[in-house]
Amino acid sequence: MSGLIEREHELLLLQSYKEGEQYIEALRNIAAFLEENVLPFSEEIDLGKRSISELRKSLFKHGLCSIPFNPEFGGLGLPFSVYVLAMELAGAADASIALSMAIHNTVADIINMYGSPEQKEKILPELLSGKKLASFALTEPSSGSDARNMNTRVEKRGDSFVINGSKTYITNAPEADVFLVFARSENGHVCLVVDRDTEGLEVGKNMEKLGMRGSTTAEVFFSECKVDSSSLVGKEGEGFEYAKSGLNSSRIVMGSICVGIASTAFRKAAIFSLERRAFGKSISEFQLIGEKIANMKLKINASRFLCFFASRMRELGMDFSSHAAQAKVFATESSLEVCDSAIQIFGGQGYTSSDVNRHWRDARLLTIGEGTSEILRILIAKKELAGLR
């Protein structure tokens, strides 16, 4: 069995699809590729000794981002859940690459759902093949969780839209070729596709971060940035709904990446616990270590199943916003606990070695990004209470 693939992945696919065997084969193939081409470089990436750019290109070429999209646009036409499991494996191999590609794919997902036929035909093949890298520009210095109250403005002038304002903490921004920008017009929120070389668009410098250090993050500034009206995605006034819709799916993927991060931390800690000896025996024989190992594994599996459940709901056309939020809250928080336990099992080595502690640092982003745990709990509570009223 391939190292990154676990029995649970195979069983989930076999139980859910009659083509399960074929999907398992696709997943095994991705796992083998990640194990050989990405996993060995993850520590170098965290330490800033290697850029993710070439590895990300090879994953685009391999087809990771194409999984859930229509073959008409260069996709593979596979279920969203297969993509979610593939992103878990990517997260297990290197969280920074997984994050960068997941954000890129959120843009592709929104264009696929709400873009015009011309936009899909022009942009999707370039995004799915990785010819162009995309960035999702929603958060602003004065509005994170309260994204609806964004200050970036857009004005219709003739046949153009003119954008003024700024965005921050934008993943991929330093490298992106295309930005999906959310701004407010007099008619409500607007979603626009903006090319990097558009006059009036400027990208700040790459920010230092606690984790996910291989992915790039920056501010994006718009000053009289003029784009053609064909850049409008969907309808004027609906932009924020598109962002929410894209984020619902993206939350499942972020949860899944965290399952991958936790799985790698777990594997390292479990092997270490078997090898490390204290008081004349392997530390895995101490019940308090055994308890940690058991809790880590059950949190990983429970998170994995929640993510898979939410992605199946999306596939079946159900309202999955509460379940996506549940998956993200549980998987990201569990991942932090698992990675913390891994550091504890490794002891001093866990605190000092990037190879152990980067997993906690990587996971730490995801109880914040794409909806904080706090905001998502509000969303879950609202949804669940509304169902009872």
């Binding site: 069995m1 084969e25 070429k61 391999h62 087809g63």
Partner: protein, 252 residues
Amino acid sequence: MRIAVCIKQAVDEAELKFDHAGNAILSNAQTKLSTFDKNAVEEALRIKTLKGGEVIAFSAGNNESKKGLKEALAMGADRAVHIITETYERSSLTVSKLLSKAIEKYKPFDLILFSEGSSDIYTSLVPGQVSTMLGLPFIPFARKIEVHDKDVKVSQTLEEKTVIISSPLPAAISVVSEINQPRYPTLVQIMQAARKQIDEIREDSLGVEPKGYRVEYIRAQSVERKKVIFEGPPEETARKLLDALKREGVVK
């Protein structure tokens, strides 16, 4: 150019588990396309790119063999032939007979390619046996293959020498892992492979009686180290060490 490439779905040695008596547990063992067979498939595809034609992958084995054949198809082989055996354990001689009979059914071929040996048992017997059964010239351990219209030039690396062997076509060749870097099939190719043809031939339909050796067991061998520590001043410990080595027959 028609090329047959013979591959094996081998036990994944990295995942092999042993029971308390040290016997390898082969039932339900994880399998994989034998590591070096990927080089054979890659070489077949490389030659096809240069010369055109068709690559057909052959594998004799139980149901697991389908996985390896699918991988070869995903890499780019055009068709695959699965000779279905009931169990995993078949002697090299039986496998060679099955492969040669199946290859006969699909002939003519210009080249029959193999890897140097399987990554689990590594007897390296099958390539020579199949070539003999098919009456073809056999060149083992190729590090480089140059195919011309009527013949083939093969380089072998033997310690410090490179030997160049020419042979008329058709010929059988086994390749070493240094010959190339096998490609990774992309996800698109995996999906396309699902639609490619795998012919099935049952072993009993080929008139081959499973004969030759039978695998009794595969057991892990381990040698216990003596872990003797000599303590004391250097001259004394050196003398003790020398005495111990003499007692063990290591030095005289």
